[in-house]
Each structure stands twice: as structure tokens, then as C-alpha cells.
Symmetry: C2
Subunit: 553 residues, 2 copies
């Protein structure tokens, strides 16, 4: 086998989420592939109506299916493993994951009816194993979920460090801190390329520690006069544990509210991350507990309208309620695009006299990603010959790249999703592979280029009209036409019914057609469509989609 080593991001470059990277060993004719992470991004942030998730288009991996040695998951965040259940059946390669990630994947799979079994090889934290031609070693890193791993990928063409998501946190509450020793050793051994998390490359200094957040939360729960609700990302088990400990110290019971929170709690108990944590109480118990004896741990930190916190804020939750004098702690950042939804929940709570505490005024949240001083440490430890910024929007990538250049990394490359980058022997972009996006629309994956969602945007913008005509062979109407308008204002500015005007347009357009054309259904349909749209556009200022059925009877 030739010693060419390549890297291609199929997602995660120039965007937040949808992380999927591939490494290849071989040459143009045949490469052995290693896939790292198979993540989603969230469509709500992009205003794609009716789309829940955005997944990477893996047509290239489907083509190369026979050459894929395996899939490694760095950790169990949705933007790193959330597309696996939907996409795995097209790849069917073995999956490698640490125990917590594997357990969470299985819990998720079990909750999705019809999801395929995925054979997962469970690997230990810090372990080293072979996947095809790749010698992979896990490096524990601190992050906002248990068992986040950087990967050392050793090949005969050189060693790569794929950081996954990480930060430096000497007191992460749960699990080992970032394994500086192993990273320094890689620096000594020699690191050809570092592919690294850029999320916080615009932020100076270092991220505060989870331990500091835990301290703030403990104070806020202790000093609360009545009920406390805390909302956070469910997967942040260290944070959940901090809340549980704070509740215990304040003599309060914990009630878990929301499906994602329940699932994580169970997985955390199974995998030992909740060892020593008190039992939580059921939601039914909530109503019987005195206000000063309870902490509700809720989903909904992004203002999701159907999650626990939004329902509680609107007094729509069957068991959990809050009222004047209670305290809600938002222990999460607001993901861009969710500001309005979070604002709605927050304002709804404040209007009821509920006290709301956010990271604007208190250290109730920290990011799980490295700021600039941490990025400098990492580069100093592993001394890569090549650095490729990953995981971030253009701004983050560009800041990460200039930092690396400033620190003297010999080759700094920025690339785009679908770029095929040669790492060895000669660094540079050598080709392009198909990359793109799929939308999860209901239970179907549709190509982001397909008309489906674009048509729905048009429907959302200007509604729809459908018309039905029955046409005899002689070109006469066999019945009164039918017309239906959806999503169009009822009356125009003069107060006249738009549906009446549209109906008249159908008749008038038809009657104005020469007799010969009236016999041609296509010609009638097109003329009526134009006539109706024109009349509606004139009165409304917008052109709805319009479909005319002509039935030849």
C-alpha cells in the first residue's frame, strides 16, 4: 500500500454541528477509510420549516463502503453521533465507542421504533486498538459530557491528532481531566497533523471550570426562598451531578422533568457516573413536596416549545408548576438561532413573578470548548507540522488558523466540506469528494437540493390555491368550477372576498379563451392558473402557488 494519508471533512467545516471526518490511507485507486463521528445539526436554527435535523450527505461513503474500516465516535453529543442511527444502515461498518457513548447510543436507538441494531465495539478510556490500517489511541479530554476523547491516529505515513471537542479543565467534576501527559508524549513522538476544535477560537484566555459553576449553582440553590428549577443540556452529566449535590446540601429532593433528562439520568446510573448520587423523586411526588424542599431538573434550555420548561412556564405541565417567588436557573448558553424561543420562555416566567437567573449575571454555565490560551497549550504540547482548524464557522476557523500561524505551526490549512486534503507526503488539497446535506423530514431523508423544502417555504410565504374544472370533449364546463384558497387573507383592502374574485377570474379566463383552446386541458389549466394568480397578486401583492386540475369528462 502506498503511503499517502488523506483527510476529508464531510461536515463541520464552516458550520456548527454535523461533524463527520474521514481519514484515508492508500492511493487514488484504493484507500482504506476511517470515519470519525457522524453528527447532525439542528434545522430549527436555519428556519427550515418542518425539518427536524440536518444530516451529512454520505453518498461518497456509500460508494466507498467496502473500503471503510470503521467508525469511531469521539463522544455522545448529537452534533458528533446524532446521525449514526439514520445513516449506519447505508455504511454498516463497525462502530467503536467508549462505554457511556455506547450506552447512550443504545438508549437512543431503543427509543426510536424501527431503528436498526448497530454493533458497537466498546473500547476503554485511554485504550489503543487497530481499525484496519489505522492504529487509534483514545486521549481523554475534558468536555461538557462524560467520556469525550481526542484520537491519536497513527499510520505509517504519520500521526494525526483529531481533537474532537475538548477544553482544559483541571477540575471537571466527572471523569479524568484532559490527558496533558499523553499529548506531550505525542509531541515528543512526532505529530504530523492536528485537526482541531475551533468553536471558541475567538475568545481570549481560558474557560472557567465546571467546579466553579457547581459552586455558583450550590449557592443559588441554597439561598433560594422557594422552589428551584434548573435547566441545562441533559447530556452534561457533571452539571446534573452538581445540581444533585447542591440539592442534597440544601436538604432538597431532585425531580427530573423531561424525556431526554430521564434518559441521561438512567444511562448515568448504569455507567456509574451517578454512583453516590441520591435517588431522584418521581414527577408525581413534585406536588407533595414543600416548595423549599425541591429542585426540578428540566429539559428545555433552548426554549423548545414542547420541552419541560416551556410547558411549565405556560402552566401546561400536568405535574410540575412554578409560581411567584420561585427561582429558575438557566445553566446553559443559548445556541444562536434560539434567542427568540429562549426569550419567550424567560419573559413568560418573569411575567409570573418567577426569578430567572442566567449566565448574563451569574457563572451558571461554561462552554466545553477551548479558548485561545487552551488552543496555545495544545499546539505547544503536540507541536504539529500541519494544523487544520475544524468544528466551527468561518470566523472561528480563520481565528484558529491565524493563532496557529502566529505560534509558528509550519503548515496551516483551512479547507471546506468535501475537500480531499493530502496530509502526507505532500500537504495540500488534492481533490474534492461529494459532500452536502440531507434533511430529516418526517421519517424520510431528503436531499437539501430537492424541491421539497423550497416548495414548503414558498407555501409558507404565499399560500396555495387549487382549482378544479371538469371539461367536456366539446370544451364546455361540465360543472361549476371549484376553488380552494389556503393561507391567503380572506378579504382585500376594500373588504372584498378574495376567493370570490379568484372564482370570477376562473370563469372569466375560461370564457375569454378561443373555443379551440377550451378543448385542450393543458392549455385551459395554464390560462386559468395565470388568470387566478394575477387577480390574487393584484389584490394581495403576493403570488401564491396555484394548481389547476382539469378533468376531461
Amino acid at each position: 500500500m502506498s503511503s499517502q494519508l488523506v483527510f476529508a471533512p464531510l461536515g463541520g467545516i464552516g458550520e456548527i454541528g454535523m461533524n463527520l471526518s474521514i481519514y484515508g490511507l492508500g492511493d487514488e485507486r484504493r484507500r482504506n477509510w476511517l470515519i470519525v463521528d457522524v453528527g447532525v445539526s439542528f434545522a430549527a436554527e436555519e428556519h427550515l420549516p418542518g425539518v427536524d435535523l440536518v444530516l451529512p450527505d454520505i453518498r461518497y461513503l456509500v460508494e466507498e463502503r467496502r473500503n471503510i474500516a470503521g467508525i469511531v465516535l469521539t463522544h455522545a453529543h448529537e452534533d458528533h453521533f446524532g446521525a449514526l442511527i439514520d445513516l449506519w444502515p447505508q455504511i454498516k461498518a463497525p462502530v467503536y465507542a467508549t462505554p457511556f457513548t455506547a450506552a447512550l447510543l443504545e438508549a437512543k436507538r431503543a427509543s426510536e421504533p424501527g431503528a436498526s441494531e448497530i454493533p458497537v465495539k466498546v473500547v476503554e478510556l485511554g485504550s489503543r486498538f487497530h481499525i484496519g490500517a489505522f492504529d487509534v489511541e483514545l486521549v481523554s479530554v475534558a468536555h461538557s459530557i462524560p467520556e469525550s476523547n481526542a484520537l491519536i491516529i497513527r499510520t505509517h505515513a504519520g500521526n494525526v491528532l483529531h481533537t474532537g471537542d475538548w477544553k482544559i479543565d483541571p477540575t471537571p467534576i466527572l471523569g479524568p481531566p484532559t490527558d496533558e501527559k499523553k499529548l506531550r508524549a505525542l509531541g515528543e513522538e512526532g505529530c504530523l497533523a492536528l485537526i482541531g476544535d475551533s468553536t471558541n477560537a475567538v475568545r481570549e484566555g481560558r474557560s472557567p471550570s465546571e467546579a466553579e459553576v457547581a459552586k455558583t449553582i450550590a449557592q443559588l440553590i441554597k439561598s433560594a426562598p422557594r422552589r428551584v428549577a434548573v435547566t441545562t443540556f441533559a447530556s452534561n452529566v457533571a452539571r446534573l451531578r452538581a445540581v444533585a449535590d447542591a440539592a442534597k446540601a440544601a436538604g432538597r429532593e431532585v425531580v427530573v422533568v423531561g424525556r431526554a433528562m430521564e434518559r441521561i439520568t438512567q444511562v448515568a446510573r448504569e455507567t456509574g457516573y451517578f454512583d453516590g448520587v441520591q435517588d431522584f423523586r418521581s414527577q408525581e411526588a413534585y406536588g407533595y413536596l414543600p416548595p423549599e424542599k425541591v429542585v426540578a431538573l428540566c429539559t428545555g434550555s433552548q426554549g423548545e416549545p414542547r420541552a419541560a420548561l416551556a410547558r411549565i412556564a405556560e402552566d401546561q405541565h400536568p405535574e410540575v408548576t412554578l409560581s411567584r417567588g420561585d427561582r429558575v436557573i438557566f445553566s446553559a448558553r443559548t445556541i444562536p438561532g434560539n434567542e427568540k424561543a429562549v426569550g419567550r420562555v424567560l419573559n413568560g416566567l418573569i411575567e409570573q413573578g418567577i426569578e430567572v437567573i442566567t449566565d448574563r449575571t451569574h457563572l451558571v454555565h461554561v462552554s466545553g470548548h477551548p479558548r485561545r490560551a487552551e488552543l496555545e497549550d495544545m499546539i505547544g504540547w503536540v507541536k504539529p507540522k500541519i494544523l487544520i482548524p475544524a468544528h466551527g464557522e468561518a470566523l472561528h476557523l480563520s481565528e484558529h488558523a491565524s493563532l496557529a500561524r502566529k505560534l509558528g505551526v509550519p503548515t496551516v490549512m483551512t479547507c471546506r466540506n468535501g475537500d480531499l486534503v493530502e496530509l502526507a507526503p505532500t500537504p495540500g488539497v488534492i481533490d474534492e469528494v461529494p459532500a452536502g446535506r440531507l434533511y430529516k423530514d418526517g421519517v424520510i431523508l431528503v436531499d437539501a437540493q430537492a424541491r421539497t423544502v423550497a416548495d414548503r417555504k414558498r407555501l409558507g410565504f404565499a399560500g396555495a390555491i387549487s382549482v378544479a374544472l371538469a371539461l367536456t370533449e366539446k370544451g364546455e364546463l361540465a360543472a361549476d368550477p371549484e376553488i380552494d384558497l389556503i393561507g391567503i387573507p380572506e378579504r382585500d383592502r376594500k373588504g372584498e372576498l378574495i376567493a370570490d374574485a379568484a372564482y370570477d377570474a376562473v370563469i372569466e379566463t375560461f370564457e375569454s379563451l378561443p373555443r379551440a383552446r377550451r378543448r385542450d386541458p393543458d392549455s385551459v389549466a395554464e390560462a386559468v392558473r395565470r388568470g387566478v394568480r394575477g387577480v390574487v397578486a393584484e389584490r394581495w401583492g403576493k403570488k401564491p402557488m396555484c394548481h389547476v386540475h382539469v378533468l376531461a369528462v
Copy 2:
């Protein structure tokens, strides 16, 4: 006339934008009304598909039309005057505005075909005049547009200070600073109630001055190696002037790009706010100017896809281009809800190697609203007996209220849109008046409660199906049914065409009906609708809207 003085907000409370307040003198049988501001809010921030603007529902003002003495506009921001052109024909009361506000209103009216003439009484800055039973005095305040005014509304029942939007800025670049002397004098004279801007009530300290922003911009333009583009809110004439001065100092010409920017520039010249400012160059000149000799002043600070900056970033602008090494200054904050759109423009520029400067790292923008120390000053100056927080979301109102309580204001009231608040003789909410929201949908104003936009959201979520059947008197199909699917994925998970399955469902449902029911068009339509929706829902996981036309031939 009785001496009851009332206040009612019809918008602007618990939300950003859509400011409209009314003051009434009299009693329950008859009140004389003064309207302050008639603003819009922006629908893009609320994900209302196809809606451009949200306007206050003024049905109450239409009922009370004969008792309205007049409308005062505090300043020319859209959230304070943007609904006037659409709503004035229903009120037809005289409008009072200062010269710049009046000129901008007229420029806007002239650009909207068919907009009614609005008779405006132009009043001088700092002047005092009667509107019906109200004695109104303008108090100049600093803000992010020329000629922002607080109003002292004197009545025989007491004096009210309606602040409008304001800040304290000793060096506002343009126009007089906030008239502390007049406000202190009002405090001496006696102020019954202060109705005040709460936008920045969560922020400690004082807003920086426009002069400091001007200094930063001057440095950034001077030090730029190549082209510079600056984007800001067009109405911030002081900021435009700062850019013009900075360009002149750096030996650069200014090119104005974008309609709103051109309109403001013209109004600023007409009203004297650009006296001494150099002539700007036309867009056609841009291409001929050397890169180090030009500054483009652009619309699009909120990432609006059709505004100048987005088009330049995508290389879609006919005359203005940017390239590697150029510098773009975002001299504006991102309004919540626009983060993704702004991010897209920003990342697009960075990907092209264009340097982007935002308020994250440089003082290139300041807010026009008072922070807490400024609110404290205002309360200290006018010493109101009553304070009602206005202009803000629940969080801002609640923080403004607690600040006022802390400072010892005797009566602090928070209220909701539509509350009728008695200020004198006995402070308190005494009644409710109709209030609500209208959507500007194309050229039509629709009630926010109407089905129109809700139906479009459903269309956007799950698309639409229309079916047409021709039915004979005997209950037989006179032609093959027609079916049209819009916004629905083409194929299901097995790769089968959903349209085929839906067509089969039409036939099967029809054929499964008992003969007697086949003669009843309504019954056929309903059965087919259910059958088709069921089949599509089963394959897709979502239920589209579905309309079945049955033509009796």
C-alpha cells in the same frame, strides 16, 4: 370635564417595538385622547412566514376616533413611527413631529405607491404647544437618530414625562444632548408620572458616547490597507456623519449603497444635519476609485438577504465589490432573531479573506438606550410620584421597576398592552381596552388571530395535497382523478413514489365506499381526504393539508 388622567399602552409593553401609547383626560363617558407614537415591530424576528411587519391593532382608536386630539411622534425610528402610514387613514388625527421626523415620514410616504397624504404639523425642537386638552412640551434627548424627544404632557390632573427612547450622551456628535436642565425643572415643578424606556435596564453603568464610537471608526478607516465598507442602521445620522468625517480625514471618498441609506442621506442634507459634509460619490464611481481611496456606506447590518451588504458579500451587487484584504465594519448590534442571518454574511465575507470588525472586539457601536446609572439620573431629576416601565420585554420592565422601587419612587406599576391605567386621581389599572396585533401580509393588514398565517405555517411544516374528482349522478367517476402534491418528499423510505401511493389511496378509498355514499360529493370528499392523508402520513410521518374537490357532472 372631570380630572381623571389615564394612560394605556397599545403596544411596546412586554415586547421590543410596536410602540403606541395613549393618554386620556375626562371620565368613562368621554375622554380626550393624545396618541404618542405609532410603531411597527419586525416579523422576521418571530418567524411569521410571509409577514413583513407587525402593527398594533387600533380598533379602540377607531372607535374613539372623534375624541382623538392628535398624534405626537417622539422620533423617526420604525418602532415608533413605522405604522403611521398604514394606520393613519383609520384615525385621521393631526400629526405633530419635528422637522427631521416629518421629512423622513414624507420621504417614506413618497416611496410607497398609493400611501395617503398625512398632514403633519411641524414643531420645533424644545417647543411647547397644545393638543386638545394636553399641553405638550418637547424635551430634546440624545438617541441614535436625530431629533429624539421626550414629552412633558401637562394636564390639570398632573404632569407626565413620556421619555420615548433616550440616553445620556454629553457628546452626541449631532444635535443637543439630553436636556437635563428642563428635566430637573420638571422635577421642581412636579412630575406625577414617568413612563420610561426600559430597553437597557438590565445593563449596569452608562452607555459610551457616540463620540467614542466615532474615534474608533476613524482609526479603523485610517489604518485600513484597502477598501472599507461600513454597515450601520441607516437612520443613525450621527454615525453616518462620523463615517464621512473619518473617510475625509483618511483621504477617502464615500459611496452610499442601499436604498434606505440613500433616502436618509438625502433627508439629512435637506434638514441640515449633513451641513459641511462632503458630497458623496455615486455607486458607478466605486469601480474607478482605488481601493485605498473609498469607503462604502452600506445597508444590511442585520444580514437582510436583499440589502447591500449581503449582495456584496455574495458578489451579486452590480457595482460594489469587495475582495481579500478589504475591511468591513459592522457598526450595529445584531437584533435578537437576526443572529443567523448576520452570521451568514459575516462568514461569507471571512471565507473570501475579507477582514470583519464587529462590536465584539472594537467599540464600533453603542446603544441609544439608557443603562441603569442613566435611569437613576432620570428618576433623580424628575422625581416622579409614579413610574411605569415601558419599551421592553418582561425582563427589562421588571428590572426597571425594581430599580425605581429601590430609588424610592412611591408608586411603581407594571402593566400590559391594553391595560387602562388611571394615573390621577387614584393610580391603578382600572379597565382593559382592545389591543392586539395586525400582520402586514403583502399589501393587506390581517388580524394576528386570523387563520391566514397559521395555515401558512402548517403548509410550511407539512405541505399540501389537492385532489380533484368528477362524479356522475350515479356515483361513478367521470374521469381519472387528479392529484397534486406540493412540499412533500418525492419518495418514501423504500424508494416508492409517494404520489403513486396517494393516487392509489384515492381510487381505493372511493371504491371501498358503499354505492349510496358515492353519490354524495361531501361524503366522497371527506373519505378521500382521510384516505389520502392516512397513506401519506404512514409513509412520511407527517400529515399534509389536503383538499378534495368533487365536481358533480
